[in-house]
């Protein structure tokens, strides 16, 4: 069987095989075939120091799926790319390059939080909330699908949809992201309503705590919100070079995205489940504090 995928492509980004070599379909005959070698980050002693000490997020590509990002803001410091979901001639949704602007301010705030924690990470903005009415449905799906295919390491999703019609396709997409080593970090809804995709186990879901330290975060043993990060009176970048203080789970998620960027930069071969485990082991309420 020939494949168009180059040999350097890691297994998790490879095209799916058209057929499978039995044992059963998804198995591997390890008696005659060795498991394929791949890069491993062992988890011997996970401490905060191990997890991200000395890291600034360099080499990690983050996509902020939101309202756009003001690329000229001093706290953003430039974007790798700026894109938006637009309607094509036939009404189909496409992703196209656009000016790095943010008419609402929300995406800039999220990107600024990520940058403040991981100054070396590469940020790309993908605007999906452009239309006051339908922003959280089809455009979100089209944008997120693009981001997952594009191979970003992390996708910050400080939004969700309450439309149950999108549940199944979003679920599939979140699983696909997980298997492609594209970790979705999703903000929990701020109201007690059911929404997606933050409620899925394949993503990292984040709600707020009300402490002021950007690096303090907690594992929540009673999900669906798996982690609590800073989300109250957060100083955030706002279009026009300004800074305001803002409250909401929207601003908690990018703290975890920034921390994930630090970890991935130092340990680039971590899988999404390993990365979530490292987050868990280095959280303020679970980490083993080393005595000096």
């Amino acid at each position: 069987m020939t494949s168009m995928t180059p040999a350097s492509t890691p297994p998790w980004r490879r095209e799916r095989r058209a057929h499978f070599p039995g044992v059963p379909a998804w198995g591997l005959a390890t008696t005659r075939q060795s498991p394929e070698p791949f890069q491993v980050s062992p988890l011997a002693e996970v401490t905060r120091q191990w997890a991200w000490d000395g890291s600034d997020g360099t080499g990690v590509r983050v996509c902020v799926v939101d309202t756009g990002v003001d690329g000229c803001h001093p706290k953003i410091g430039g974007l790798e790319r700026s894109l938006e979901v637009v309607s094509g001639d036939g009404g189909e949704l496409l992703v196209a390059d656009c000016h790095p602007v943010d008419p609402a301010g929300h995406g800039t705030a999220c990107a600024g939080v990520i940058r403040s924690i991981a100054p070396g990470a590469s940020l790309t903005s993908l605007r999906v909330l452009t239309d006051g009415k339908t922003g959280t449905g089809d455009a979100l799906m089209a944008g997120l699908r693009w981001a997952v295919d594009e191979g970003f390491d992390l996708v910050n999703l400080s939004l969700s949809t309450t439309r149950s019609g999108f549940r199944e396709s979003l679920h599939e997409l979140a699983d696909r992201a997980y298997f492609r080593r594209c970790l979705l970090i999703a903000a929990a809804h701020n109201m007690p309503v059911v929404s997606f995709p933050w409620t899925f186990s394949s993503v990292v879901s984040v709600a707020s705590h009300d402490e002021a330290d950007p690096m303090t975060y907690y594992y929540n043993p009673a999900p669906p919100a798996e982690f609590h990060a800073r989300g109250v009176r957060v100083p955030v970048a706002w279009p026009g070079g300004r800074e305001i203080r803002s409250t909401g789970n929207s601003f908690a998620a990018p703290h975890i995205t920034g921390i994930c960027a630090l970890i991935l930069s130092k340990h680039p071969w971590l899988t999404p489940f390993q990365l979530k485990t490292v987050l868990y082991l280095a959280a303020d309420n679970t980490m083993t504090r080393t005595t000096p």
């Binding site: 006051g132 009415k133 922003g135 109201m191 109250v232 909401g248």
Partner: protein
């Protein structure tokens, strides 16, 4: 209930929502926007406290500022220390004529869709930001339910034939010169049929 009764109740309800929201938080002002289902614009419907009542009816473009994000995302949000931010000052001045230091906004969600935004400006009776955003969200949910019931009553009334054909014709006349929507052409065809019937 006549159409006027329903209109009156809707105005009272909208006003009551902003009055209660303002008093719950000891705020300088509270305002409510409803989303125009055709354009996505936010239509300023009512204000309590500081602000210009004459601005009721004015529109904000879709997806701009805090109210725009709240409508698009269906999520509440708090923004503090905003008075230095030109964009907010403009937004707020456009909607209420009052420039706030803090804005808190929550969506009015009807089924799975955001139909409006409730804003509270410069709250003073605050327990904590986390409690505030939750409290406003709860109140907005209740407000949206009430609004929903009223809209249903109005909708069922609209389906009954108009008692005054001249008022109906006037309203049709006002609505016709709008945008060239496919529904307009269909309406014109129906009018031609009506004209034909009346000429017999």
């Amino acid at each position: 209930m006549s159409r006027d009764d329903i209109d009156g109740t809707e105005r009272t309800l909208l006003q009551s929502i902003v009055e209660v929201a303002r008093h719950m938080f000891g705020a300088a002002a509270s305002s409510i926007f409803l989303v125009d289902p055709d354009t996505g614009e936010l239509v300023f419907e009512a204000v309590s406290g500081e602000g210009e009542k004459k601005l009721v009816g004015s529109r904000l473009p879709a997806g701009t500022g805090i109210a725009g994000w709240v409508a698009a995302s269906g999520q509440p949000m708090i923004a503090d220390d905003v008075s230095a931010v030109t964009q907010f000052a403009q937004d707020a001045a456009e909607s209420t004529g009052y420039v706030p230091r803090t804005i808190m906004a929550a969506p009015l969600i009807r089924f799975e869709e955001c139909v409006g935004v409730l804003e509270v400006l410069d709250r003073t009776a605050s327990r904590s930001d986390l409690d505030d955003v939750e409290f406003l969200g709860l109140f907005a949910t209740q407000a949206a339910c009430t609004l929903e019931l009223l809209l249903r009553v109005r909708h069922s009334r609209l389906q009954e034939p108009d008692r005054d054909p001249h008022a109906l014709l006037r309203r049709i006349g006002e609505r016709l010169p709008g945008k060239a929507r496919p529904s307009d052409a269909a309406a014109v065809r129906l009018l031609a049929i009506a004209d034909d019937l009346l000429a017999r």
